[in-house]
């Protein structure tokens, strides 16, 4: 553990990433105390005001404080990113473990994953939200579904390489059940690549969720959401560019944090896993 932390700490970018994420999490949790204004109540006389002492990042078309909305929006984006990745990881890892461990499940499971992979992630997520209806939970599901095949592939390849090793063979020979071998011996030894992969997936999930909201398929107004805020600001780009600019910057910072963390973890734990991009 100490060794891992030392290698991790050597990677300056990763430490910055971790700090950014922790900082954002604190801001998100403390939004109610920190935010200078109510994120939802309208204040039309102050509409589209530029940054000032009272409104540090200016106001939107309804006179709502953009800083306060960004702080509350952080809750949503972090939550969606983490839970969607959790959904994708749980389903994907279970499927991958089965495919890797039981030869008869391998082909059917992995062909289904190929089908999911044939869809561009944005289109797949859009279709899922369109089918289920736009809501917070459905966005999480849609974004999570997208990462299922990648998680399945990573965990399957882990199983395939681990199950030939002596300690796993030994456990089987001693009469351990399939479930015990999978969850007690194989899974714990696959944690580090999965962790690296997950942190990069959270970054992608936050981006994808923001895209869905931007296209009008995400959380519905007046809930403050970063992607939706950028989208709403488009109409005022000429006279008040800050309305779109700052929420977009917030997305960038959050995603960058998880990407840096992922890069750092990868160097510290496992150099094999790559990255996927959206659009």
């Amino acid at each position: 553990m100490n060794e891992i932390w030392r290698r991790f700490a050597k990677h300056r970018l990763a430490v910055i990433g971790l700090a950014v994420i922790l900082g954002l999490a604190v801001l998100a949790l403390g939004a109610r105390r920190i935010a200078p204004h109510d994120p939802i109540r309208q204040d039309l006389p102050h509409a589209l005001a530029g940054p000032s002492a009272e409104f540090p990042l200016g106001t939107d078309e309804f006179g709502r404080c953009i800083l306060s909305r960004i702080l509350f929006g952080a809750r949503l984006s972090l939550l969606v990113g983490v839970i969607a990745t959790g959904i994708g990881a749980t389903a994907g890892i279970l499927l991958g473990l089965c495919a890797g461990f039981f030869p008869r499940a391998d082909a059917p499971v992995m062909r289904c994953m190929d089908v999911l992979l044939a869809f561009p992630s944005i289109l797949l997520a859009m279709a899922v939200v369109a089918a289920l209806g736009p809501s917070l939970v459905n966005v999480m599901i849609a974004v999570g579904v997208r990462s299922v095949p990648s998680f399945a592939r990573v965990s399957r390849s882990m199983v395939l390489s681990l199950k030939e090793l002596e300690f796993v063979q030994g456990a089987s020979a001693l009469g351990a059940s399939h479930a015990r071998v999978l969850f007690r011996h194989i899974l714990p030894n696959s944690v580090s690549p999965l962790l690296v992969f997950s942190s990069m997936q959270v970054a992608t999930a936050i981006l994808l969720a923001a895209i869905l909201s931007f296209l009008g398929l995400g959380v519905q107004p007046p809930t403050p959401e970063w992607g939706k805020m950028v989208s709403d600001g488009r109409a005022y780009l000429m006279e008040a560019p800050h309305v779109s600019l700052f929420p977009g910057l917030a997305i960038f910072v959050a995603v960058m944090g998880f990407n840096c963390l992922g890069d750092g973890l990868r160097d510290a734990l496992d150099p094999r896993v790559g990255r996927v991009a959206v659009e």
């Binding site: 062909r111 289904c112 190929d114 089908v115 999911l116 044939a118 869809f119 561009p120 944005i122 289109l123 859009m126 279709a127 899922v128 369109a130 089918a131 289920l132 209806g133 970054a203 981006l207 923001a210 895209i211 931007f214 296209l215 009008g216 398929l217 992607g227 950028v230 989208s231 600001g233 488009r234 780009l237 000429m238 560019p241 779109s244 600019l245 977009g248 910057l249 997305i251 960038f252 995603v255 960058m256 990407n259 840096c260 890069d263 990255r275 991009a277 959206v278 659009e279």
Partner: protein, 313 residues
């Protein structure tokens, strides 16, 4: 070789079958009745029943699926619920715009990404390397819609150099070129980042190999070592990614096309999804998946041509 191509083509059949099943399922389990959408919310029951029968929606689901599949195989993707025109025609009429946007953007990405990665690798750990890699990591973290908006704000609204949105004819006309530049550049940002990172790591890997040392030792000029001996091998993974990214974007760059009001397949797809125009959604998604699977195949074949060590048994 022929055997390999045939086998790969056969392998795509179950995938495409699954794709069609999934697309069909997604669009038929949705809440909300498409018939109400066409007939209008206040239509009498008799009209509703007639429209339902016209669309064949009263038949069992599996019958609908079989007829959907058999007609799709003959190139008939049904008619749009909104415009009543054939879906295949709607998609084909928008494909040139998407093809143009994607091609211009990939050309930009390759022209910027490869030299950037090359310089970063040759000048490893210099400021050029740090700036190039820092920029590409940042670019990968930016939401593309935000990049687009900042680009519009800067180049269209503030500087007035390029038009805000829309398409004005083919790219070889001056106005057409002016219109495609901003959306293509926006779309290229992610690809530039990926390509430059891959080129850099590929070069670093290759530059450490013995044959490069041999080339240097026998007195080949440094520019030739890098440009010919190393680059040719470093670019093999880049070709894969460029190919896949190209195929992926041919299905319509949904976000970019939406923001720049670019009349392509991606914009058709999102409009259809928002309007619950099922046949159009099905058609677009099917097209995307088919193109993607075929491009995958092409990339695999290209690989063998570039790297003769790869043999297709």
């Amino acid at each position: 070789m022929i055997h390999y191509i045939l086998r790969r083509l056969l392998q795509t059949v179950p995938v495409l079958f699954g794709v069609s099943l999934l697309v069909f399922a997604i669009m038929h389990v949705v809440p909300g009745d498409p018939v109400r959408l066409i007939a209008g919310p206040d239509a009498p029951e008799s009209v509703i029943a007639r429209v339902r029968a016209e669309l064949g929606l009263e038949r069992p689901l599996y019958v609908q699926y079989v007829s959907f599949l058999s007609r799709a195989l003959q190139g008939d993707l049904g008619r749009s619920l909104r415009s009543r025109s054939p879906v295949a025609g709607e998609i084909l009429s928008r494909f040139p715009a998407t093809l143009e946007l994607t091609t211009v953007s990939m050309v930009m990405a390759v022209l910027v990404g490869i030299p950037l990665g090359l310089i970063a690798a040759v000048r490893r750990s210099s400021w050029v390397d740090y700036v190039a890699m820092g920029t590409s990591l940042s670019t990968l973290s930016m939401p593309i819609f935000w990049v687009a908006i900042v680009a519009i704000w800067l180049f269209s609204l503030q500087l007035g150099w390029l038009p805000v949105s829309g398409r004005a004819g083919p790219v070889w006309h001056w106005e057409g070129l002016r219109h495609v530049l901003l959306p293509a550049a926006t779309l290229a940002t992610t690809s530039v980042a990926i390509i430059s990172r891959l080129t850099r790591s590929g070069m670093l890997d290759v530059l450490g190999r013995e044959y490069v040392t041999t080339a240097r030792a026998k007195g080949v000029p440094p520019s030739r070592v890098v440009g010919k001996h190393a680059l040719a091998n470093a670019l093999i993974p880049v070709v894969t990614v460029v190919g896949l990214q190209y195929g992926f974007l041919l299905g319509g760059a949904v976000v970019t096309e939406t923001i720049f009001a670019w009349p392509g397949v991606g914009r058709l797809a999102i409009t259809a999804i928002l309007q619950r125009d099922y046949p159009v959604v099905q058609g677009c998604v099917l097209l995307v998946a088919v193109v993607f699977v075929l491009v995958n195949l092409l990339v695999d074949l290209l690989y063998g041509w570039l790297d003769p060590r790869i043999r297709y048994e």
